[in-house]
């Protein structure tokens, strides 16, 4: 297969990478760029562990081709962190609430719920309800927490975001 060079904008930095056409965005982020916060779970778009933001919108890294992401901005969980790997406030809510156990689902949970809160607050609808959070996270599977603490964490962050 023909390898081609593309420029991927990931977490605010441009990376020149050689890819084959059938490489998924997940393959390149995880295997080439070493981003361990983007994970292979199901390969079908169901589990949410490969969630990344493409131009700010959550997408499945396993169902998007790397070549399709060229010229677009990709954000992974790491991209939310501040200088010196300072945690994002939503990450702190997850820690405080015990919403992360093994941690495998956590990046996808955080990116998806952050998108929900940003949209809801940004569109002037205030903080999303617990049911809305539940609906937005239906495509992110967690086998540890039982989800309750994840919902608690997102609600805490949503309250903060709606007030600020």
């Amino acid at each position: 297969m023909n390898k081609r060079q593309v420029v991927l904008g990931v977490n605010g930095r441009d990376h020149e990478v050689w890819i084959t056409p059938s490489d998924t965005l997940l393959d390149v982020l995880h295997d080439e760029l070493g981003l361990a916060d983007v994970r292979y779970g199901c390969g079908e778009g169901v589990c949410g562990t490969c969630t990344v933001l493409l131009d700010g919108e959550p997408v499945n890294g396993c169902l998007t081709l790397a070549v399709q992401a060229a010229g677009h901005q990709v954000t992974t969980l790491r991209g939310l962190m501040g200088p010196g790997e300072a945690m994002h406030p939503l990450q702190e809510c997850f820690l405080r609430r015990g919403a992360s156990q093994c941690g495998f689902c956590t990046p996808g949970m955080i990116l998806t719920s952050l998108d929900l809160v940003r949209r809801s607050v940004g569109q002037g609808q205030g903080r999303p309800s617990r049911d809305e959070i539940r609906y937005a996270l239906v495509g992110n599977l967690c086998r540890c927490t039982g989800y309750t603490k994840i919902l608690d964490a997102v609600e805490e962050y949503a309250d903060m975001a709606a007030e600020s």
Binding site: P21, S22, G45, P58, V59, L63, T64, L65, Q68, D115
Partner: protein
């Protein structure tokens, strides 16, 4: 699992995609949102040698257009499910579709998945296919011999197959805009939110017009056959329970790992009655 290797080409227009498809024939697949095709590749259920990406071909938003038969909602092929869910024109002129899309996949799937990709994939449990039937949508397709319009009722041919020629690509979906005194309902049963429907029912209900035209209802069902199906209009009268029972009696749904055929038939009856009641109540408001 990992997808088998394939080549990739981005098409800058539908005409370019049609040409590439003609040149590569059976070896090529059209890539729209990729939310059904890519899982099939990752699971190695499909082995195309070339993906023709039509994402760069079209950036048009939904519009309302006047046709000789009345106002039509024009949805470009690449209209994402999220747009169907949120766009004012869709919510106003085809509220059935906006509601049904809530049941499609998850946030990520709705951000990438497209209306034409869903129709072309022709899953027998498709919410969008079900709505296309209920609303009397028309599908615009382009091929080497030009454009063609296909009524949704003629589009589906069986499990994951359509009546489109292999060289044709859907470019637009036209949906008659909701009229005054029209009601709608979408009912679906799933084990877990975001799963494929076990059974789904879409109903468009038109109240009797002052001109004297009688009330009418269009009932479409998903998950009850090898394709989404339209119920025979002669089975429909103004009694929801009797109508639903008559429609369910005509169905012979398959057994599979998700549900038995008998359970699907029972769901078809219960959900159809529910949908007819809700749609007629909405029409009366």
């Amino acid at each position: 699992m990992v997808a088998p290797a394939f080549e990739y080409v981005a098409a800058g227009s539908y005409d370019e995609a049609v040409r590439l498809l003609a040149e590569n024939g059976d070896e090529a697949k059209i890539l729209a949102g990729g939310q059904s095709l890519m899982p099939m590749l990752n699971l190695r259920l499909a082995h195309p040698e070339l993906l023709i990406d039509i994402n760069p071909a079209d950036q048009r938003p939904p519009t309302l257009a006047l046709h000789n038969s009345g106002e039509m909602l024009r949805l470009p092929a690449l209209t994402r499910h999220r747009v169907l869910l949120e766009h004012d024109l869709v919510r106003q002129h085809c509220p059935l579709l906006a509601e049904a899309v809530r049941h499609v996949g998850n946030v990520r799937v709705r951000n990438r998945g497209t209306i034409a990709g869903s129709l072309a994939h022709a899953d027998p449990t498709s919410e969008i296919g079900c709505c296309a039937l209920a609303t009397g949508a028309r599908i615009l397709a382009r091929g080497p011999d030009g454009e063609r319009t296909v009524p949704a009722s003629d589009l589906f041919a069986g499990y994951w197959s359509t009546t489109l020629d292999p060289g044709q690509i859907i470019t637009d979906v036209l949906i008659p805009a909701a009229r005054p005194r029209q009601g709608w309902s979408f009912q679906e049963m799933v084990r877990r939110t975001s799963d494929f429907a076990i059974v789904a029912v879409a109903v468009i209900f038109n109240l009797a017009e002052r001109s004297g035209a009688p009330a009418s209802a269009t009932v479409a069902l998903a998950g009850v056959a090898d394709r989404v199906v339209l119920a025979d209009s002669e089975l429909v009268d103004d009694d929801p329970e009797q109508t639903a029972a008559r429609i369910a009696d005509t169905l012979d749904p398959p057994d599979d790992v998700h549900a038995s055929g008998a359970y699907r038939r029972r769901l078809a009856r219960v959900l159809t009655a529910r949908a007819l009641r809700e749609a007629s109540a909405r029409a009366a408001v």
